[in-house]
């Protein structure tokens, strides 16, 4: 292949304000008009975005010590339980955590009005957060209980660390049973009443670098409206799935673990969500720049919704009981059209991942790069991809 570009060359162009940056949508017209080689010669960076519910998200907080000191064994933020088990005043607040008083699904479908995702949104919005913490007391950490209030700016560290974000492809969810079901894929009406899906398709980061040739450990990204980094592969990373000739997986595949400073983020891109009958979670805005190192990478970023397929999965039986199988494959172009055809029937579709939000993230990242505020980072190490022989395993169940 002809053209080769290095990270250093791209960053030099960014610094001198000469980098050509397009979003993963904008680049499609260019490629259509001029072809891959000419587009690759012209474009330095393609930006991507996604803004969807991502349950495996949360923040590590270091609260600082009260006087006297405390070794927290139980912590609640605005009533929502945070994880302890680290050092004295380090806690982890997960997006799906709930207050112990939440009725759950006892009154079905539960509302889950306020959970970890909402606390994270309130934290990043600068609101005052109520802390209640308990301990057994030690000689070095005598305090046994504290109730106080704090704001994000007043604590030492708030590090967002999301063990699994930015799923590369995800099932379209339907319900073949006779009653409405309430899932993390939204409300699914009976008898194929609707099909919900949750990726930003051609704008989505991992569809634009399907074999993870540029995205690796240390890649600088847009996270929650601030700057973050790819920390590792995400949990349940599953690169060995069937792919199309362009390398795009036909099933849920790669995932990312990402990290960033919550204090630099914005409530616009970290939103607490309540999924009826399922729980609370966090909608995370995430965007990744793809450096156009060569024509091969350019070709990956030219991926279109019509070429990305995903399985339609039944969430009334097949998914919860891990029975496998699906009701057919559909493309994101079909899903975005408003309906798909299943078993000869028209089934209305709805996204859960905000496509206008994804577009705005890709545009924001483009703007950051063009204004010289955001440089690209060469990964410190690659992430495992196709050929690494990693597959998702179920939990062993034995006595």
């Amino acid at each position: 292949m002809g053209l080769e570009r290095t990270y250093e060359e791209i960053n030099e162009k960014i610094k001198s304000g000469k980098a050509v940056v397009l979003t993963a949508e904008e680049v499609l017209d260019l490629v259509e008009e001029k072809g891959i080689p000419a587009a690759a010669a012209e474009v330095d960076v393609v930006t991507t975005g996604t803004f969807g519910p991502m349950c495996s998200s949360g923040v590590f907080l270091n609260l600082g010590h009260p006087r006297p000191r405390i070794k927290i064994t139980e912590a609640y933020l605005n009533g929502v339980r945070a994880g302890t088990g680290l050092a004295a005043v380090d806690i982890y607040l997960g997006a799906t955590s709930l207050p112990p008083t939440d009725p759950g699904n006892r009154s079905y479908p539960g509302e889950f009005a306020y959970g970890g995702g909402h606390v994270i949104e309130d934290l990043v919005a600068g609101k005052e957060i109520r802390l209640e913490a308990h301990s057994y007391g030690t000689d070095c950490y005598p305090l046994k209980k504290i109730e106080t209030k704090f704001r994000l700016a007043e604590i030492n560290e708030a590090t967002m660390f999301n063990p699994r974000n930015s799923y590369q492809n995800y099932n379209a969810a339907v319900n073949i049973s006779e009653k409405t079901i309430y899932t993390y894929m939204g409300i699914l009406k009976p008898d194929l009443g609707n099909a919900n899906y949750s990726t930003s398709g051609q704008l989505s980061p991992l569809f634009n670098d399907p074999l993870l040739k540029t995205i690796g450990i240390g890649t600088r990204i847009f996270l929650g409206g601030g700057i973050g980094y790819v920390a590792w592969n995400g949990t349940q990373h599953n690169p060995e799935v069937e792919r199309n000739p362009g390398g795009v997986p036909n099933y849920p595949a790669g995932t990312l673990a990402v990290i960033g400073d919550l204090k630099g983020m914005s409530p616009r891109w970290l939103r607490g969500l309540s999924f009826l009958g399922y729980g609370a979670t966090l909608q995370v805005g995430l965007g990744i720049p793809i450096p156009i190192l060569n024509e091969e990478i350019m070709a990956y970023t030219a991926v279109r919704d019509r070429d990305i397929l995903t399985p339609v999965t039944d969430y009334s039986r097949s998914y919860p009981h891990r029975e496998g199988g699906n009701l057919g494959m559909v493309s994101y172009a079909e899903l975005n059209s408003g309906s798909i055809t299943l078993n000869g029937r028209r089934v209305p579709t709805a996204p859960l991942s905000s496509i206008p939000g994804a577009r705005e993230i890709a545009l924001t990242l483009k703007d950051w790069i063009m204004s010289g505020r955001f440089l690209l980072s060469r990964p410190a190490a690659p992430l495992p991809s196709a050929g690494a022989n990693i597959t998702v395993k179920p939990l062993p169940q034995r006595k």
């Binding site: 519910p53 939204g186 999924f275 009826l276 209305p348 709805a350 996204p351 859960l352 206008p356 939000g357």
Partner: protein, 139 residues
């Protein structure tokens, strides 16, 4: 001719009254019932579209109020907090009337107030809680 969408709330004691019949017969109004929650032991709620002559319409409203009904304009019942909306699109398959619908190809959600029948399905279905009900407006 005027056309309004109204929410009527009435005490249990009025449930048996032929209210709609009177609106049609005495005030020459056209009444299209969009939704009815009527329980003989509780407050009743009717959502309807009413059209007819302005003068008659005003007289009818007065008459309904005299009967002990509370009347609000439907437009004020369900509101879309565009600042809270994340444009996810989940509500588009929940809303039965197309009041919440996705514009293509932008995939932006829009709220068409005039199509909303205040069924309230979207209130809890919206994960970002961007849909709100206002119960105390314009009474």
């Amino acid at each position: 001719m005027i056309k309004h969408k109204l929410v009527l709330r009435f005490p249990a004691s009025l449930v048996e009254q032929p209210l709609i019949y009177r609106l049609v017969k005495d005030y020459d109004l056209m009444v299209n019932i969009l939704r009815a929650d009527i329980n003989p032991r509780k407050e009743g709620r009717l959502v309807m579209e009413v059209s007819g002559r302005e003068e008659k319409y005003q007289q009818a409203l007065q008459w309904l109020r005299d009967q002990g009904l509370r009347i609000t304009n439907l437009q004020q019942q369900v509101i879309w907090r565009s600042d809270r909306c994340t444009q996810c699109g989940a509500c588009s398959v929940i809303c039965p009337t197309g009041a919440l619908a996705i514009s293509r190809p932008s995939m932006a959600i829009r709220f068409y107030e005039d199509k909303c029948v205040a069924c309230e399905h979207c209130i809890k279905a919206c994960p970002a809680r961007a849909m709100e009900i206002y119960l105390n407006n314009g009474e």
